[in-house]
Amino acid sequence: MSAIAKGNRRFVLLAESPAPYSEAQIDTLVEALSDPAKLTPAQWIEIEQIAKKLASVPFNRSDEVEALHTDAARWLRALRLEAAGKKEAAADLLDGIWIGCLGEDRAQRLLAQARNLMGGPQRELAARRLAEVAKVSISHRTLGAVDRLAKQLRKGNLAFRRRTKIALLGSATLEFWLPALRAQCFAWGIDAEFHVGPFGQYQQEILQPGSATELFHPDIVVIASDYRSLGFPQESNDPGGEVQQRVNGLRSLWKQVRERMGAFVVQLNAEIPAQDPYGRLSAALPGGLGRMLRGFNLALWDAERAEPGVAVVDVEQIAAKFGKLAIQKQGWQDAVLWNTAKQYPSSQATPVLTQHLTGVFRAVLGLSAKCVAVDLDGTLWGGVIGEDGLGGIQIGGGPVGEAHAAFQTYLKALAARGIMLAACSKNNREDALAPFREHRGMVLKEEDFAVFVANWESKDQNLKEIARIINIGLDAIVFVDDNPMERARVHQNVPEVEVVELPLDPSGFVAALDEPLYFEALALTGEDRVRGQSIRTNQERAQLESQSGSVDDYLASLEMTVALSPFQPADMARIVQLINKTNQFNLTTRRLNESDVRQLFAGEGNYTQSLRVSDRFGDNGLTGVLIAVREGDALRVHTWLMSCRVMGRRLEEAVLAALGKFARTSGATKIVGEYLPTAKNEVVAKLYSTLGFTATGEPGIFEISTATTQDAPKFLKIIDHTNVDQQIEE
């Protein structure tokens, strides 16, 4: 403790003294820099100030600093190299200097390296560092810096995970959101183009045919109707009517956006003002403003459930999370800048709001994480099970044990909502399992995990193994480990994996995992709820497979039943979800929103098919989607995908058999298949050839005569509902 306090004082004094320094001051500097104690956020900044002072004067004792290997000395040397224009050398020196740093402090260290990597040969690394900055920082200044640097980087080629066009409409000056929003989209691999509608004219922009917003052809339209623009009275005799009228108004706007622009709607709900002349009565009185706004927010969620292609963002919750207390310039709103420039929320609060918006964008674009891989020792409990034993670990009782139990409770609820839980531990398997089986303080049980990996392999190998077992990309995994060195290694070796920066104190684990909003979703389907169970039974299937003679023997032993049906209204949420997140068994990777799907469904002569499969281990639920459109005498496969959980079971043959049957009865003479290659769908590159299609010569286009399509394999029990009249009720 005293070492840190002493060091702190030394750096402050030097940072505040004018340069050049006296010999005695340089002695103090060298001594302070040689202290290996961890730097505080203030010290990092003080050293930065010292470096700036040294840059403008001769410094003839730099070799003494060169000889030191503490973080403090590296930081000073790197900043001096940067000032001298030796950016690559500075970047090298800064590599890894953020290990163990958290939050804004971490962001600043990463930003310093990114800055120095810019313009050099390692553009990809610069982009990765910048992305990391924008994920950990909620400072609008830092995000502004990321935005500016990212703009320079984007002049060359950069790999993005998705491209999208986003229109922002509302009743505040939304240009203020752009720097943070652009930086955050960049961070999560979204190449987003933005259009900001004119202030206060969101209705006109949506209703007016040929408006700038419509001509922009957005994929996503954000409606930020600030609570003031909704015009609720302070008290009303008809609060229900007031709410209904406004919700109906917004619903008709949503409908226009979806039908005319084919875009997804992100609707912001209403903040409840912190200053209210009615005080507590505002919510207590039946017609009070506070109560009406609460009613309005609930009614918006009801409307979201009734309308496809809409997600409501909970501004009220975000404002509360940030803090509405009007300490000027610190709180959610800045009254001065609202009055002068219609800025909402304040510049400090904006990054938190845009972070939530980006979370929803990721959900819309199918980029949300699907799995959380957790370390055990030090993460799920205090202590090391292999050394401390069952009686020695801290879980359940005591302050440390309670902190770990709270974290387990959070993880258990994540698993219940369909985020797959994986254990990723360096341990003997039996040791690792013992607490789950025998310790009464444990909240998580063995069966909460979809995958349980405990061995002595490296964590990056094990994460690859987990991705393989669950059959997801590494970029769908969030890794949680209390050991900063393990985290740094995973960052380095499998950069696709999201790594949570845990604080030293387990009381902060829940917030650290929650705040980056890795797992935002648009809906919760029945499949989500049983996903972990389904992955576990898949591993049992794999065991059965290794015991069977041939693949077909194994598949037959699964006793599969396949139900094929045209799209049903009740399945719509799941179908849209699959279309937007399936990457591997996906022939065309066309992402569609609900109104697109309905249009394709309604097309004359088109065929839609959902696939459900169950076997002796349980029901896998709706795991396959096919859409074929009629073009002349051909049926063209527009979309065909299958969840990775049911791949490799010859189900594609059943899908094609049913499609062939439909084609023949509807008078089509051939089926045209299309393969659009992506970074992830190599697995189906040869699917059409395997199924007997012939290549047409046009790249990626295959066809087969409807007379020659084969029947489904004998071991599949098929229930085909295709001849039932296709129908989706509105």
């Binding site: 203020f176 000027q328 310039k329 001065v336 002068t340 420039a341």
Partner: protein
């Protein structure tokens, strides 16, 4: 103080070569519109740890005006 004001101007206007003086004003800097005005206000508030009032935000349209305001708030 002028150096720190210039830093804020460069950041907001995204121009690393911009040079400002007391006489620099909304007329002499291209791109200094109402949006930039607010960004400058936010930037200066943070750089100097001060707060501007509604009237000040509306009336400060030159670097010299910002200098006067900052001096009145105890910045040297």
């Amino acid at each position: 103080m002028l150096e720190r004001i210039q830093k804020v101007f460069r950041e907001v206007l995204e121009d690393d070569t911009l040079v400002v003086e007391s006489t620099t004003s909304q007329e002499t800097v291209s791109g200094w519109d109402s949006l930039v005005q607010v960004k400058l206000i936010i930037g200066l508030e943070e750089e100097f740890g001060v707060e501007f009032t509604t009237e000040e935000v509306l009336e400060a349209h030159s670097v010299g005006a910002f200098e006067t305001l900052l001096e009145s708030k105890g910045v040297s």
